[in-house]
C-alpha cells in the first residue's frame, strides 16, 4: 500500500515536472530562444541524416527521391555482405585497429613514464614540445611528408636503410601489402604518441610527492618507485583509456588511411570507411554504402556505449 502510494506520488511529481517544462519555456523565453539555434542545428544536420538511413533499405535513386524510391528490405545488406571487398574491409578495419591498440596504446604510457624520469626540466620541455607538434598537422600534410620520406626511389628513409644499415633493396612502405599496415601503425604512433602522453603525465603529476619521499627514505630505487608507486597510480587512467579505445575499434583512422593508401594496397589497407566512400560517393551506390555505414555505426554504437558503461562503473568517469 505505502509502496504503491509512493510510486504514484513519484510518478505524479515526474508528470508535474514534465508539464512544468512547457510553461517553463514561456517563463524562460529568452533562454529558450537562445537555445533554439542549437536544436535546429542538431535536427537538420544530425537527426535528419539519421532518418536518411532508410535509404539503406531502399533502392535509392536521385530522380525518385528518398520517399519515392522502392523498398528493397535487406537486399543492400545481403548484396554488400556477399562481396569479398566488404569482408576484406571489415578484416582490415579490425586488423589495423587491433594493431594500433596493441602498439599505439602502450606507447604514450611508456613515453609518459620515461618523461617522468627526466630530471632536466629544459630537456623534458623540449621533448614535449617537439613530440606534440605532429598532432597539429593534418593527415594531408603528413601524408605528403611521408610520401616523400618513404619513397622507394629517393626517399630519405630508404636511403638511410641502404647507406647506414646496408639494406640491399628499397622497401615499398606505402606500395606493398607486406609493409602497409606496419607503416600505418608507426606513422600513427609518430603523430600521436606525444599528445596522448599528456593525460598520463597529468595523472603522474597528481601523485602525492610524499609517497616518493617515504619510498626513497626506505631505500627504494627509481625503478622501484616507478614500479610500485607511479604505475599503480596510473592504472585507473589506463583502464579507462583502454576501454574507450576498445569502444572505437571500428574506426581504423579514415583520415590517415585515405591519404596514404592507393589501389596497390587495398588488400591490406581498405577499411570500412574508405569502402563506404569509394562505393558511395565514388560509384554513387548510395543505398549500398549507407547499408555498410549503418552496419558499422550500429556495432560502433553498441561498443562505445557498452565500454562507456564499463568505464563508468570501474572509475566513476566516462567520456561525458
Amino acid at each position: 500500500m505505502t509502496v504503491s502510494g509512493a510510486r504514484t506520488s513519484r510518478q505524479q511529481s515526474a508528470l508535474r515536472r514534465f508539464a512544468y517544462g512547457f510553461t517553463g519555456y514561456k517563463k524562460h523565453l529568452a533562454l529558450t530562444l537562445m537555445f533554439l539555434p542549437v536544436v535546429v542545428y542538431f535536427i537538420i544536420f544530425k537527426y535528419v541524416p539519421m532518418a536518411g538511413i532508410v535509404i539503406a533499405f531502399k533502392n535509392y535513386k536521385i530522380s525518385q527521391g528518398i520517399f519515392g524510391s522502392a523498398w528493397v528490405g535487406l537486399d543492400n545488406f545481403t548484396k554488400a555482405f556477399s562481396t569479398p571487398t566488404f569482408a576484406r574491409s571489415v578484416k582490415n578495419t579490425l586488423a589495423i585497429s587491433g594493431l594500433k591498440l596493441l602498439f599505439g596504446f602502450p606507447a604514450p604510457i611508456i613515453l609518459a613514464l620515461m618523461l617522468n624520469e627526466v630530471t632536466h626540466a629544459r630537456f623534458k620541455k623540449t621533448v614535449q614540445t617537439i613530440s606534440y607538434l605532429p598532432h597539429f598537422l593534418s593527415w594531408v600534410v603528413l601524408a605528403g611528408m611521408f610520401q616523400q620520406l618513404l619513397s622507394p626511389n629517393n626517399g630519405a628513409v630508404n636511403a638511410v636503410l641502404r647507406d647506414v644499415f646496408g639494406l640491399q633493396e628499397s622497401i615499398y612502405f606505402l606500395g606493398s601489402n607486406k609493409y602497409f599496415r606496419g607503416t600505418l601503425i608507426v606513422t600513427d604512433i609518430w603523430k600521436n604518441v606525444g599528445w596522448s602522453s599528456i593525460l598520463y603525465l597529468a595523472t603522474i603529476s597528481g601523485i602525492d610527492p610524499a609517497l616518493y619521499e617515504a619510498a626513497t627514505v626506505d631505500g627504494a630505487t627509481r625503478w622501484q618507485c616507478t614500479r610500485y608507486i607511479t604505475i599503480p597510480s596510473l592504472v585507473s587512467t589506463i583502464v579507462v583509456m583502454l576501454i574507450l579505445s576498445i569502444g572505437s575499434i571500428m574506426d581504423a583512422g579514415f583520415d590517415q588511411v585515405f591519404n596514404l593508401y592507393n589501389s596497390a594496397v587495398y588488400q591490406t589497407g581498405d577499411i570500412i570507411d574508405t569502402y563506404v566512400y569509394r562505393y558511395g560517393l565514388g560509384d554513387m551506390k548510395y543505398s549500398l554504402a549507407t547499408a555498410v555505414g549503418l552496419f558499422k555505426n550500429v556495432i560502433a554504437f553498441v561498443l562505445v556505449v557498452g565500454t562507456n558503461l564499463i568505464a563508468r562503473r570501474l572509475s566513476g568517469e566516462g567520456i561525458w
Binding site: F45, T129, F136, S138, A143, G144, A156, V305
Partner: protein
Amino acid sequence: MKRAKPSFGKLLIYLMLTLLSATIVIAFWHLLNLSLSPSYIATKGGLLLYPKDATLDNYARVIDNRYIWMGYKNTLIRTVIGTVLQLFFTSMGAYVLSKRFFPHRTFWTLFIVFTMFFSGGLIPSYLVVKNLGLLNTYASMILPGFISAYNLVIMRNYFQSLPEEIEESCLIDGAGRLRIFLQFVLPLSKPILATVALWLVVGHWNSWFDVLIYISDDTKFTLQIVLRRIIITGSKEILDTSAAANAAEMDSVVSSEGLKAACIYVTTLPILCAYPFVQKFFVKGIMIGSLKG
C-alpha cells in the same frame, strides 16, 4: 650525501627520448632542405642534412601559383567565419543548458550527447547538404559540423561552475538573460572560450574532407585540398596551368619533389609559426576536457 651516478637505465631513457624527438625534427629539417634544393639534388634524393646549393626556385614557383593564394583566402574565410559563429552559438547553447531550471534539461543534454555516439553516416549526411542546396558554398564547410556536442558539454560544465547569485542580482536589476550572457558570462569565461576557439581554428585549418566531398568549384578550394591535389593525387595542372610551364617542369630548376616540399611548407607555415606560442593553451585545454567531464 652520495652523488647519484648516471645509471644505465637513465641513459637509455634520455637516448630514446632524443631518438623520438630526432625523428620528428629530422623529418621536418630534411623536408625543408628538400624544398630548398635544386632539381638535381632533389631527384637524387637521400637524406638531406644541410641545404646544398640552396635555391628559392621551388618557393618562387609555389608563390606564383594562384591556387595557393586562393587556398589561403578560402581557408581564412572558413576559419574566421566558422570559428566566430560556432563559438558564439555553442557557448550560447551551453549557457542555456548550464541552467538547472531550464525545462527538460536532461532530455536536451541527451539529445545532444546522443549524436556523439550515433550518426546517420557519410551518405545520408552528404545527401542532406546536397538537398539543402549547399554544395559549392562556404556554408557546406561550416554548417555540417557547426556545433560539436563535445565542445558544448565542456562549456556547459564550465558555465555551471560560475556563481549563479551574481546573475540573479543582475536579473533583479532588469538585465535580460542574453545581456547577462554577453556582458557577464562570456567575459568570465575567457579561458574556456580561448581553448575551444583554438580547437576550432586548428580544426578548420586542417579540415579537408568536407571540401573534398562538397566543393567541386576550384575557386573555393581550401589550402588542404590544394595541397592534397598537388601531393597526393599528383595533379600537375594545379601547379602548372600552362603547357609551357609543364615543359618547364622538366627543366633543371625545379623538381616535383622540391615543389611538393615547398608546398607543404607554404601551407603549414602559419601552424608552425603559431605552434610554440599556443602549445601551452592546448595542453591546458586537454585538462579542462578531462576534468570532471
